[in-house]
């Protein structure tokens, strides 16, 4: 992350200097900072609502029921998380909401899942393997029906805006498998390296 962050900023300043876009770069700095805070504030409303709902579901034992129902899948994805742990229920709710395209609900559930995973994490500043797996799975885009894309296609006058859904589901499934495989490989590699370093 350190390297990518520096690369992004470094490339921006160099490119801004070479192409004479320094004024734009400088403006973008401050407007992006403002946007970031607006985004965070914008998340608070939905987050408060769904964290409240999540607590009710937790108190009613629903989160554990969900975790138990999906135990076989989760045993494989998150081997370090004890079965029936509430983290798995939150993960399930997050995946479900994502697949249905309920982004506003998915984010608070995902955050709850991260908080639960954090309670199991021995080093609070460093991501656990379960966290890495969870976040990486997101970059495969779990959404089954890409509502945004379909709206864009319709707006552009497509004859059949939803014809790309099948392709999207296929590509999502492939990248999801890659996400699982790659996270597993990295986890093993890091574990080996850590052991080697200690010896």
């Amino acid at each position: 992350m350190n390297i990518v962050w520096l690369l992004l900023i470094g490339a921006a300043v160099i490119s801004g200097a070479v192409k004479g876009h320094m004024a734009e770069v400088s403006n973008a700095m401050f407007s992006s900072a403002t946007t970031a805070i607006e985004l965070a504030i914008g998340l608070v409303g939905g987050m408060t609502l769904f964290l409240g709902l999540m607590r009710v579901a937790d108190d009613a034992g629903l989160v554990r029921v969900l975790a138990r129902a999906l135990r076989p899948v989760f045993r494989f994805l998150f081997p370090d998380v004890p079965r029936d742990h509430p983290a798995l229920g939150a993960v399930a709710m997050n995946f479900g909401a994502n697949m249905l395209g309920l982004g506003d609900a998915a984010t608070p559930f995902g955050i709850k899942a991260m908080e639960e995973l954090q309670t199991l994490n021995p080093d609070k500043e460093t991501a656990s393997d379960a966290m890495c797996m969870f976040v990486t799975l997101h970059s495969s885009s779990l959404q089954l029906i890409p509502v945004m894309v379909i709206s864009l296609r319709a707006a552009a006058g497509s004859k059949n805006p939803s014809e790309t859904i099948v392709g999207t589901i296929f590509a999502t499934a492939v990248s999801m498998l890659v996400a699982i495989g790659v996270s597993r490989m990295f986890a093993r590699w890091y574990a080996l390296r850590a052991r080697g370093g200690a010896a």
Partner: protein, 177 residues
Amino acid sequence: MREMANSASNWIVPLLILGIPLYAFAVKRVRVYESFIEGAKEGFTIGVRIMPYLVGILVAIGMFRASGAMDWLVWAIRPLVAWAGFPPEALPSSLMRSLSGSAAFAMSSEIFKLYGPDSFIGRLVSVIQGSTETTFYIMAVYFGAVAVRKTRYTLAASLITDASGIAAAFVITRLLF
């Protein structure tokens, strides 16, 4: 299909908000209102905790976009994808997807306007945008929420996942259309 997806999401959330507390109260005797408030308390603190992460990453991405450095990245990767037969016109919006969702969607609209949404490029861009995610934003929000700073291999694994999504989108679009 779009209407169905839209109306489904209009129904699911209100039904959840009724159904979960109703079950909790009627079957499990949970004091639902108190329970809700207890959980909801955390909302604001999490929003505040995310802020530094989001500012850090969005400022870097904003600067990167404004500087036009994207052209260099496209230039560097272009020969590689051209060799595979991937249309270079679809490259900038695909690379942008991991950095900024709104920018990637704006670039896709532009492509729809230029080539038409039902052209090969238009379909390819549609599949790619639907099957990849704003990786950097997600990482900032999720790791920010628990104040984890060392993310280990998440970024590398996520970027490989994004690339595999783009490749899979290309293959399936070729096969389907």
